[in-house]
């Protein structure tokens, strides 16, 4: 079957069986390796992408259900690492192994797009679906706050900044 969707701002057509998870479409057909496989059951969050702006698990979303939608992967936040979440993650040197961090950053960026000034409780609640097996949670909390600061600064500078759509709209 052939499916049309928009990935990181680019209209894309994909040929795949309808039950193929979006994760494997993104990784192996579109060759965007940032999105990771961890559990295949929406339990760990490694595969998190934005579907029409919502943080979703791509391992349990079929290509059939993703058709016609706007998908943003880590590569779509910015190619050069300038999205506030990417900047904050690098500044605080959050990762240990780094494998879960794409999913962490996608959940964090979706949170900040809706709630630019999250409280500690907001951050924990939003990030709870993303496992970090290395245990970088204390740095993740700090990085989300730092990204919020960076985002606020940019918003002050450019009135039309939009976190989700800096994904290459």
């Amino acid at each position: 079957m052939s499916y049309k969707l928009t990935v990181n701002g680019r209209p894309t057509t994909v040929d795949a069986p309808g039950d193929t998870p979006l994760l494997w479409v993104v990784r192996d057909i579109l060759d965007l390796k940032g999105t990771k496989y961890g559990c295949g059951m929406a339990l760990c969050g490694c595969c998190t992408v934005h579907i029409d702006g919502e943080a979703m698990r791509s391992c349990t979303t079929t290509i059939e259900n993703a058709a016609g939608k706007h998908i943003t992967t880590l590569e779509g936040l910015s190619e050069d690492g300038t999205h506030p979440v990417q900047v904050a993650w690098a500044e605080l040197d959050v990762p240990q192994c780094g494998y879960c961090q794409a999913g962490q950053m996608m959940t964090a960026s979706a949170l900040l797009a809706k709630n630019p000034h999250p409280t500690d409780a907001d951050i924990d609640a939003a990030m709870d679906g993303n496992i970090c097996r290395c245990g970088t949670y204390l740095r993740i909390r700090k990085a989300v706050k730092r990204a919020a600061e960076l985002h606020a600064k940019r918003t002050a500078q450019t009135s039309n900044a939009d976190l989700t759509a800096s994904a290459k709209a």
Partner: protein, 758 residues
């Protein structure tokens, strides 16, 4: 180091230098040592020259193998060891860069592939720091000496008149200077200096070591560039899944191969018989398809295999627990250590406590499931492997394929978590066998369920303890009958206990005993092997004795550590010197314990009802750690860990402080996962738990608000940090639960007693 002199010029790509630098004898030695390495980790032996001496002279590490300087001044440094998140990709190059005296902003770090010229390449046993601290600083100092020699020759002055700062050689008497980039070509013609002639920097002059240095891969990680084993692709690649018998050691009797082959996208499906070493190649069914999802879907939806399950199908966790109780009633199989007269001492003790402790099998669950890419063509194999022990994988793969080791190239990828799982290279052997069969590049990827079902699990264990305290509140007798897995007097992998394990030597009447039962469950090292479970048992039982004597748990421990220790036992005849245990140093542990008590305000802060502190310490992998957890327990057994304090002594230098804080906090988080939710249950010879809903790593809402990490710098050689911060965390929590509730947790995990995270 330069572009014009091939002899000293490592311009050859590290990806293509296999033949030139290969020292086959050294390679075999390396393989042998890696095999020993897992055992080394357990016994916490001294590492370095003594260890290498067991396997012949060490490989001479030449500056030119590790350092490339181009005329533009860019310094490329090879990171030789596998990066599993422990931070070696920054740390090892930092050692070289410091003594090379280069400006870190000029440094580019490149992952080295498996090559004997880099010496041992292993991520295990917290060995990267102790094994590389001297040789890699020598590599840097050697490079610096060659640059100075080049400058001195250029200027016609004595090298002794020259100095260096940040990528530049100076001649102070004349005020001249040249950059490393300008000197690189000439430096390459200078003879490498004798390592013994090199003078290392005074640590007070360090500009890189001891300063927080970011992860060299950080930009690639935050922008999602291909980096990990699972990300590797090449043109014409097919994707494989490999299904093994859920019962350990089982074999394929028959499978519906024709039905699988007829599915869309399936290119190959075949039965793989068990390899020459079934521990690294179990029999199974390989499904190779145009996409991994097609292979996986075929496995999930259509594959039907009739298995010969074999004898392990009769085994279970329940059977092991029942057997342990029976064995504990009998005379122990082994006496690991015996001091004084425990029976007499129990008879005269003021307080005697008896308790049985146990802990389950654990799965490592790195978030990147096992995978490996392989390409076999014309009798040669190339693999891209997320392996902690690439040399071991290479030798096992050569054996399984029946080809020579020199016909295999192993590329190292970044690794999405190790924790000891990737010390065993079964996935590499499987990928190689499949690649040989299909003749095109193949990426093998396991499902999460296969990863949890086919681990080399942290062994379960059962301890039957008796302790006696005299009227002065001092431990006078201790008996531990440890029932574990093994056969014919040999412990299963990572299922052993050293006779010298603390509190051995600090109690006058002491018996460390063991008995073994056979098991078909594959076992292996997991982060802080042995220690991650033993610390829970020892530090919990010490806590029990402290409370029985009515004494403060910190002061009770300080007094225990103040005893003049009994001598170490002579190792069994024939034990290599390097495998002999390291003496536990009481004063070093007293210092970290005193510090953590001060930092946490132990005994000085008034805590709300239901909230209490627990303390524990443990020595492993040459590191001394004491930890305090402040824990709140509700009436419904909901547990909140508010704050944790960690104090460690890993010697005179913490090489990369930011990374050290990160990994120590991670060790605390992992300890919480062990304590609450991790448990692999064996039933009918297979693992019951299959994914994270049944085997839950800690989540962010459960993480403490703060984890305070502090290092005491002591006059000891720097040692590793991947492991030793983990073990004390588990008993720190359970001891806090006792202090808060009066419930002594003697079996892990907590969830089996009705606890949950708040």
């Amino acid at each position: 180091m330069a572009t014009t002199q091939p002899k000293l010029d490592p311009q050859e790509s590290p990806k293509s230098n296999r033949s030139a630098g290969m020292n086959r004898r050294a390679f075999l030695r390396a393989t042998a040592l890696v095999g020993g390495g897992m055992m080394l980790a357990y016994y916490a032996e001294p590492l370095g020259k003594k260890v290498l001496a067991q396997f012949g002279p060490p490989v001479t590490l030449l500056p030119t193998s590790f350092i490339t300087i181009t005329p533009d001044g860019i310094v490329t440094i090879i990171a030789k060891n596998p990066e599993i998140g422990q931070g070696v990709k920054a740390m090892l190059p930092m050692m070289i860069a410091e003594e090379l005296d280069v400006d870190w902003k000029d440094v580019r770090v490149e992952q080295g592939d498996l090559n004997a010229k880099y010496g041992l390449q292993i991520a295990g046993g917290s060995t990267s720091t102790p094994m590389n601290w001297d040789p890699l600083r020598q590599v840097g100092a050697g490079g610096r000496a060659m640059l100075i020699a080049a400058a001195a020759q250029t200027w016609g002055v004595s090298p002794s008149e020259c100095s260096t700062t940040a990528s530049r050689v100076h001649h102070d008497p004349s005020g001249r200077s040249l950059t490393y980039g300008e000197l690189a070509s000439k430096a390459a013609t200078m003879p490498p200096p004798d390592p013994k002639s090199l003078k290392m920097k005074d640590p007070k002059d360090y500009r890189i070591i001891g300063k927080t240095t970011p992860n060299p891969d950080i930009h690639k990680i935050v922008t999602g560039k291909p980096l990990y084993g699972i990300d590797f692709t090449m043109p014409g690649m097919l994707y494989a899944n490999y299904e093994k018998c859920p019962v350990f050691g089982g074999k394929v009797k028959s499978a519906n191969l024709d039905e699988i082959k007829a599915l869309p996208g399936i290119r190959h499906v075949f039965v793989v018989p068990p390899g020459p070493d079934p521990a690294t190649l179990a029999g199974g069914v390989a499904i190779v398809a145009d996409s991994w999802y097609q292979a996986r879907a075929a496995r999930d939806k259509t594959l039907k295999v009739e298995w010969d399950e074999g004898p392990t199908a009769a085994q279970s966790s329940q059977l092991y627990a029942a057997t342990s109780v029976e064995l504990a009633k009998k005379e122990p199989g082994q006496v690991l250590r015996k001091d004084g007269d425990t029976d007499a001492a129990f008879g005269s003790a003021a307080h005697v406590v008896e308790a049985a402790y146990s802990y389950p099998f654990l799965s490592h669950v790195p978030l990147e499931p096992q995978n490996c890419s392989a390409y076999y063509k014309d009798g040669k194999l190339e693999v891209w492997a997320p392996s902690q022990t690439p040399a071991t994988g290479l030798s096992q793969t050569a054996r399984a394929l029946g080809i020579d080791q020199k016909d295999i190239t192993v590329h190292l990828t970044r690794i999405g978590g190790g924790f000891g799982r990737r010390l065993t290279d079964d996935y590499m052997v499987e990928a190689a066998v499949i690649a040989k069969q299909v003749g095109v590049p193949v990426k093998l990827l396991w499902t999460r369920e296969q990863d949890m079902a086919h681990d080399y699990y942290r062994p379960a264990g059962f301890h039957f303890l008796k302790g006696g305290v005299d009227k002065n509140g001092k431990i006078v007798a201790w008996r531990n009958h440890f029932v574990t897995f093994g056969e014919n007097g040999r412990f299963a992998q990572s299922a052993g206990l050293g006779g010298e394990e603390f509190p051995a030597r600090f109690i006058p009447n002491f018996s460390q005993l063991s008995s073994m039962m056979p098991s078909g469950v594959p076992m292996g090292a997991m982060r802080a092997p042995g220690s991650n479970a033993i610390a829970f048992v020892m530090q919990s039982f010490i806590d029990e004795l402290s409370h029985a004597a009515g004494r403060d748990p910190v002061q009770f421990r300080l007094d225990l550590l103040a005893a003049a220790p009994l001598p170490m036992a002579a190792p069994p005849p024939g034990t290599p010197v390097a495998f002999a245990p390291v003496a536990f140093d009481g004063p070093r542990m007293r210092a970290v314990l005193t510090s953590v008590a001060e930092r946490s305000g132990w005994g000085k802060r008034k805590l709300p009802p239901g909230t209490a502190m627990g303390v524990a310490f443990h020595f492993s992998h040459r590191g001394y750690f004491a930890e305090v957890a402040e824990v709140q327990v509700s009436s419904s057994k909901a547990v909140k860990v508010h704050k944790v304090w960690v104090v460690g002594d890993i010697g005179s230098q913490v090489i990369n402080p930011g990374a050290a804080q990160n990994i120590s906090q991670g060790a605390v988080i992992e300890g919480m996962s062990h304590a609450m939710g991790y448990e692999i249950t064996i039933d009918a010879g297979r693992a019951v738990q299959s994914n994270f809903h049944q085997y839950p790593p800690l989540r962010i809402t459960q993480a403490p608000a703060d984890i305070d990490v502090f290092f005491l710098k002591t006059d000891n050689p720097p040692t590793g940090l991947g492991e030793p911060a983990l073990p004390p965390m588990i008993p720190a929590i359970t001891n806090a639960i006792f202090a808060a509730t009066g419930h002594r947790v003697r079996a892990l995990p907590l969830q089996q007693h009705g606890y949950s995270w708040a």
